[in-house]
């Protein structure tokens, strides 16, 4: 397998007159061809900003990429011009947005919207593009004959399928899905997840899945990165993170989910709240909520420690154990 995407120390801040919001700090991830990575974290952890950073869509101002590299197939995307980026977006890397209700243009038919991306990136006639658009719709399980209908004529789950059809229309090598099922009901969510999984296998697409739902990650992903306050606090393959979570935040997340298989009397939530990203502490950002925090945690930023091959943790507790 070859590396398709490598992010090195990506740092993105939102700079305003009054404050600097440190949304993404030193995030590094690698994604192999055909692999899927789950980026898990709570609201405001910097997941979506990371995705926007990859696609060069961080609004500037106030967003500013402070440092780092996003290497896609050997090219640093951050160094490309806007015109070059536009050729990649939607063609080689595409994105499924969170809210299918707002991601579609209400005054264009869905067929036109799928066609748009095909016509933009490939030199095909209008009739050919329409045929391809209808094929895409069939592939995501909607009758091709409905291509002249408008988004409001479809249900939420079907709209999300259209968004997926648009994202996959040019057969991208990398698909970024930002909470693709959060707005959907569970039975529809299961249908959409199955669809993404099947299409991914069929076209050997790599997937970066952004979500807050650990259950969804377990169904779809090979690797997991847990994000807290703009940093990856734990990173590894699915088995090592789920069966052997190390970071206190990861443990806290698992403790917060009611167990579906047995009934516990009480949940073990993480106390307190996530720190304000415009005012991050000097040391570990999780220290205030961490049951094991020491004075040292509040003073310095913990290094990334590899606890087992391919499983790394950003926590001082494991510093000595690391190799």
């Amino acid at each position: 397998m070859s590396k398709i995407l490598e992010i090195k120390d990506l740092t993105i801040h939102y700079v305003t007159d009054d404050e600097v919001v440190k949304a993404v700090n030193d995030i590094s991830i690698t994604l192999e061809e055909g692999e899927s990575l789950g980026l898990v974290g709570e609201t405001g952890a910097g997941k979506t900003t990371t995705a926007m950073g990859i696609l060069g869509l961080v609004p500037n101002p106030p967003g500013k990429i402070i440092g780092g590299e996003v290497i896609y197939k050997g090219k640093n995307l951050l160094k490309l011009s806007e015109a070059e980026m536009r050729k990649i977006r939607g063609h080689e890397i595409s994105m499924i947005f969170q809210d299918p209700m707002t991601a579609l243009n209400p005054v264009l038919t869905v067929g036109d919207q799928i066609m748009e991306v095909i016509r933009l990136h490939q030199k095909v006639s209008k009739a050919e593009a329409m045929k391809r658009a209808m094929d895409m719709m069939e592939m995501v399980g909607i009758e091709g004959g409905r291509c002249n209908e408008y988004p409001h004529q479809f249900s939420g789950g079907m709209k999300q399928r259209i968004v997926i059809a648009i994202a996959l229309a040019c057969n991208p090598s990398l698909l970024i899905a930002d909470e693709p099922t959060t707005a959907l009901d569970v039975t529809i969510q299961a249908q959409v997840l199955d669809l993404i999984d099947n299409l991914k296998k069929k076209f050997n697409t790599s997937l970066l899945l952004i979500t807050h739902d650990l259950g969804v990650v377990a169904e779809v992903c090979d690797k997991v990165a847990i994000v807290y306050a703009g940093r990856i606090v734990e990173y590894g393959n699915l088995e090592s993170i789920y069966n052997n979570p190390k970071h206190p935040y990861t443990n806290g997340l698992f403790g917060s989910i009611p167990d579906f298989s047995k009934k516990a009397h009480r949940l073990n939530p993480i106390r307190g709240l996530m720190p304000d990203p415009s005012n991050l502490p000097e040391g570990c950002a999780f220290a205030e909520r961490c049951p094991n925090a020491t004075d040292e945690c509040r003073k310095r930023q913990p290094p990334v420690v590899e606890v087992e091959p391919g499983h790394s943790v950003r926590c001082l507790m494991f510093e000595k154990e690391g190799r």
Binding site: E42, Q191, A218
Partner: protein
């Protein structure tokens, strides 16, 4: 124990341009004092309408509602005001259910003022301070406004407002759905503590299966305005009989490795509740549906003690006698 609330054949229809929308259709249930009934279903199944109709936020179309052994199906304005002291609601969205121009203390004091619960200003302040303590809001937030707070704290204000009049029954409409998991767990724990302390009875409406199992004593599954299954919350996770309940629970993603199982996925999507015909409402998506399912709407029957299912073929599907 005695039933605190009892609902019989409750119906709520809405008039629309395209016909009658059957939001809640012939639902009956009861909740014992101090217990929690979990109501689950997908969006549009009528679970919120049911909750709102029970506490008279919507006027029912027909049916009976009994509270503490009294028929409260038809009440006048004054009776309703008295009733509201005992029945409160926690709303889903802590971002839109609080008046942005009122401070935390004003928001919590509002129900106390409306019901003239406090004789003096000092007493009011004491009550508000105590309520803030109860729901875990720091005193420094006394004069803050909702926009300064995060979702978890806002939901705590919503809970404090619901608790202010010391109600007996609270309808919780997706109280944790808008919150992050770590905050969600804090709020669920708070609600369970309050229930034990004040002997509260909850009707907990949610679409999240793991949350509902955690908090409920009984569970009611709804589909297109109708109850399809009702039983003990332990029972439903071991013996679920209705095809929809099975599909719904199978669709829940479980956060463990190797939980990938063969799922009984249901095809299609929820149909329209406008002018439904005389058929099983789930028939169009049901893998077991036959002519009988399209010929009449199945009534709920007790397949084993305390376990009600509305399905024509429940016995064949589950090999029951």
């Amino acid at each position: 124990m005695a039933n605190l609330i009892e609902v019989k054949n409750l119906k709520k229809y809405f008039k629309t341009n395209r016909g009658l929308l059957h939001a809640v259709d012939d639902v009956s249930f009861s909740i014992e004092k101090g217990k929690t009934l979990g109501v689950v279903g997908e969006s549009g199944c009528g679970k919120s309408t049911l909750g709102r109709t029970v506490i008279h936020l919507h006027e029912k179309t027909s049916g009976e509602i009994w509270f503490e052994g009294k028929d409260i199906s038809d009440v006048n304005k004054q009776q309703l005001k008295d009733l509201r002291e005992d029945m409160q609601m926690i709303f889903q969205d802590p971002f839109s259910s609080l008046n942005p121009r009122m401070s935390v203390s004003q928001l919590i004091a509002e129900p106390l003022l409306i019901y003239k619960k406090c004789g003096s200003r000092q007493e009011l302040e004491e009550r508000v301070t105590k309520l803030m303590d109860t729901v875990g809001l720091a005193q420094r937030l006394y004069n803050s406004y909702p926009h300064e707070l995060d979702g978890g704290r806002r939901q705590r204000i919503g809970i404090a407002r619901a608790l202010a009049l010391e109600p007996k029954f609270i309808v919780c409409d997706e109280p944790v759905s808008a919150l992050d998991v770590s905050i969600q767990a804090q709020i669920i724990n708070l609600m369970q503590d309050l229930q034990e302390e004040h002997q509260l009875t909850y009707m907990f409406i949610t679409h999240d299966m793991s949350v509902v199992r955690h908090i409920s004593d009984d569970i009611m599954v709804m589909y297109l305005g109708m109850m399809v299954e009702f039983c003990d919350s332990e029972e439903i996770f071991h013996n679920r009989f209705h095809p929809y309940t099975k599909a719904l629970l199978d669709a829940v993603p479980i956060p463990t490795v190797k939980a990938k199982k063969e799922r009984r996925l249901i095809k299609g999507e929820i149909t329209s509740p406008i002018n439904p015909g005389n058929e099983c409402r789930f028939a169009k998506r049901c893998p077991y549906a036959d002519e009988a399912c399209f010929a009449s709407t199945p009534a709920a029957e007790e397949v084993c003690p305390g376990h009600f299912v509305a399905c024509h073929h429940v016995r064949e599907i589950n090999n029951l006698k």
